[in-house]
Symmetry: none
Subunit: 208 residues, 4 copies
DNA sequence: GATGAATGAGCGTTCATTCAT
DNA sequence: TATGAATGAACGCTCATTCAT
């Protein structure tokens, strides 16, 4: 189908300026993820983008606005996927599986943004402009905790589960994966999700 | 009564220097953990320690040397405990249980150091002076990976386990706990370890 | 009617370039006067002129060259008027009255240029390119001082006058008026001149 | 009188640290007055104070806080003197004379601050932190305008006076003097005041 | 004539560090 | 032991200016 082909081409050939912004943003995300936001200088970003520090300010208002755009773009997409899962009318186990899978997929697509989020969300959430980070955190907790609780109520998860503790364990394991995951490596996001879900649901002990 | 005298002196007049050092170090660990090493100024540490920034340099060579001492003290103690477990001749499941338990205990004792380690180890490991971080990382991997592999070989863990992936999941879940664990909270380290091990070994799904 | 036709064209299509220049110059003068030369960015001027900063450089060599043109245009006109007065063969009192009146008229016509001149002349005079500012200052002093001295010699001004001091007082009062004068306000330039001359010549005290 | 002598000495010998602040402030005022606040770099101030730019921040929060301290110190003193005059129960002519004299004295004491005030007050007044500048401006107008109006009512000033215009003329002449006055020059502040008052009250025209 | 994108110098400010007292 | 004052490098950012299109 040549039509869909040319439509995807349109996104890859550098026809229009807006792409420069996103190039810079990708570079910035990479550096923020590698060294931390505070430890990253705008000169480092500019170097990596092949320009001078001052030139960044033609495209962005500030270093912080780059961070903002990286994080909010990521969260917007994440929540689009999560909401699709949460409104699909799945049972608790299927919901859990879908959330885990989407999470690892998101790490695949936005590895840097996730890593930055992990590192900076807590202290950034305090600043008024980044209030959406704290909000997201709460929606997140509600989604996961609710799913676990529903699973216990529906008797698909163990009745003796400490759901708060379990929520934390799961949340951490999933997201921290951004710190070691490399796209194009041995495991696809779906494979990682499958492995993790197997461990989480069935445990690692061999059954008698 | 000379006993009570010397005891009250200890709090008012600086009898023995080592204590001042450790006070400062504890304060430094607290703020490093809260705000990140780079985002922490020596003035913040000094303020919290009730002195001026310059005065810290009587006790320490540099900001980095404080970080160094915090991390190496923690790792020394961690490895003392780990080595005790690893040389105790336990089976793989008991070894795993003991390592998890010791890890949560270590988080309880050195919460700040663990949090700092999590945040900074990767990029610090590159600097020659902090080579011991990378070394520790490797010993760590060997201990956990070996235990998992031994468990699979001994048929106490599932044969279909991807041990590398499992290692990463376990390592992350355990150590990231430092970011939310609060000493003196609802759960003791041992309780948290028990809950996590139950989840890890048996899974969260309800058995038929 | 070709006349009205060409007259309306002049406002819509850019027939002759010189007009664009002067539009920009007027805009620049306005913002230089309002915020000071140094505090004015070329972007501010360009915004107000409805173009991008870089585009200004098609019309002008530099920000400084705009300032230069504003000030020299103003001084050229000022001196044309002053010279007309000074060569008219008037007595000292009439000369003084005419200079004061022409000065307030000039403020009316070139308010911004006068305000800029007030603010920047002193430190600009040092730069070689703006030498004409210092020259103008000297011709200015000669004209006013000479008139005052002639007035004392001719016994139309008080013999106990400190002419240097009087010169400064008069000069300052006249030119600083540019900072509060608004064209089209309550008082015409001639009315202001009349009031000031009345005060200057007769004093404000009520005579017995 | 040795007592008054030693008391003035106490201000010149550099005994205590607070004086460093004021040295820097004096230097900053000098440079602000000479080149304008915006055009002055902190490096210029630091150079003139014999230190590096960063060192200024040990003594002051910011460049703006230096400006603030310069202006508010000046205004505090000015208003102390003005209030003394205004509450002394003098007649309008004596009040006018006293205000003019105090103003020139203030120029003598705080020449730089006055020059800075002249240049920057208008646009600074807009910023909330410098609201006191606008307030001062209003008190100022009230004091002078009131005195002139009282003088007209009491028939010591001419009945045909446009008091608003006269106020502006007087205000400008007095304060702009800061731009040419040099302490220790030919004329004392009192002498300048006497000359200006003579001109203002009696006029410069020779009486028949 | 004007734009979009970049340059490079310099700005106000921060901060780890030093050192005489 | 601790302080007060300074250093100097680097930081985020601004801005006059350039230039291919």
């Amino acid at each position: 189908m040549p039509t869909s082909n040319s439509s995807s081409d349109r996104k890859k050939t550098p026809v229009n300026p807006p792409e420069r912004r996103e190039e810079i943003l990708a570079v910035a995300a990479e550096v923020f993820a590698a060294r931390g936001y505070n430890a990253t200088t705008v000169r480092t970003i500019a170097d990596a983008a092949g320009m001078l520090a001052g030139s960044l300010y033609y495209h962005f208002d500030s270093k912080e606005s780059m961070l903002d755009e990286i994080l909010s773009t990521f969260l917007d997409e994440l929540w689009a996927r999560y909401d699709a899962v949460l409104t699909a009318g799945l049972g608790p186990r299927q919901t859990l599986e879908a959330l885990v899978t989407e999470s690892f997929r998101e790490i695949d697509r936005h590895r840097c943004a996730v890593a930055i989020y992990q590192r900076e969300a807590r202290h950034l959430g305090a600043r008024p402009h980044f209030g959406y980070l704290a909000e997201s955190q709460q929606r997140f907790e509600k989604a996961w905790l609710g799913t676990l609780e529903r699973g216990v109520a529906d008797e698909v998860f163990r009745p003796d589960l400490d759901v708060r503790l379990t929520y934390r364990f799961v949340r951490d394991t999933v997201w921290v994966a951004a710190s070691w995951y490399r796209p194009g490596g041995l495991h696809s996001p779906e494979e990682i999700a499958r492995q993790y879900l197997s461990m989480l649901l069935e445990g690692i002990a061999l059954r008698a």
